[in-house]
Symmetry: C2
Subunit: 160 residues, 2 copies
């Protein structure tokens, strides 16, 4: 990872906690093994998604973490999470997507080395939407692969 994560871009110590928490949450809550590709600086134009869960960080760590899925992957993951079929356009569905992101961010927060608080999740539904962050915080993408499909954890945080 050291070849892609440079100090000037984003501190690797802010990324690894999310790699670990993503793997742990998916294994524990969904029974899914996750293959994590090398984190990379988010490119423009970015891939587009159908569902994104957004968690804000404030305190000694500021920024935002976004977990994004295409529709088919989101459906498989939410059904695995709920242990039942959940209607994709229901509030239960967006709550489940938000809760997965909340678990990933919450578990990572403990290892970030600062006192930070996280916001409740907001979930975006919309075919091919794009998530833009303040351009003064670099965004690292953690590409994740599972049997249920691919998804991305996108991290735009820095020490305040």
């Amino acid at each position: 990872m050291s070849t892609t994560v440079t100090k000037a871009q984003i501190d690797a110590r802010l990324i690894m906690p999310f790699v670990n928490s993503t793997r742990n949450v998916l294994q524990t809550m969904l029974g899914l093994a996750t293959t994590i590709d090398r984190p990379r600086i988010k490119s423009v134009p970015a891939p587009e998604y159908d569902y994104s869960a957004i968690i804000g960080f404030s305190g000694q760590i500021v920024g935002v973490v976004v977990v994004s899925f295409r529709r088919e992957t989101a459906i498989k993951m939410v059904n695995a999470f709920a242990g039942d079929e959940v209607e994709p356009d229901s509030s239960d569905f967006s709550d489940a997507i938000g809760e997965l992101a909340n678990m990933i961010a919450g578990a990572a927060k403990k290892d970030l080395g600062g006192v930070a608080s996280i916001s409740v999740p907001t979930v975006i539904l919309g075919k091919g939407h794009i998530v833009a962050r303040p351009s003064d915080i670099p965004c690292m993408v953690i590409p994740c692969k599972t049997e249920a499909g691919e998804f991305a954890v996108e991290i735009s945080i820095k020490q305040a």
Copy 2:
């Protein structure tokens, strides 16, 4: 307002600071007078937007505030904010949308009566996207009208 904002739904004291800050920020930064319609509980299905700026609250006030625009309104407002034409798909454009939301949320925060911190703004771009919040926090919509068009400030916060 007392007919639509009941204690069981959301505390009016959490809404008025946003009514005031929206009006002040638009007048000061954009030179736009804003007509504020009666705040109402967000209905389902909700109106769809093209741009949404999302700000998370944490601390003694938790939740999320979203400022949403249709494309034509966003373009007029950003150009008024920048004092120049800004390319709608540029990072300058989403930064400007985010900064407007940040000013509205930041000014309101002081009057909310609690110690809270706000996250950096995240801006969603996507025709007809929907923003879902955790279903356990009610969402109040403040419908806003200006010469540049209509937009909405959507408030889903509560005291922690």
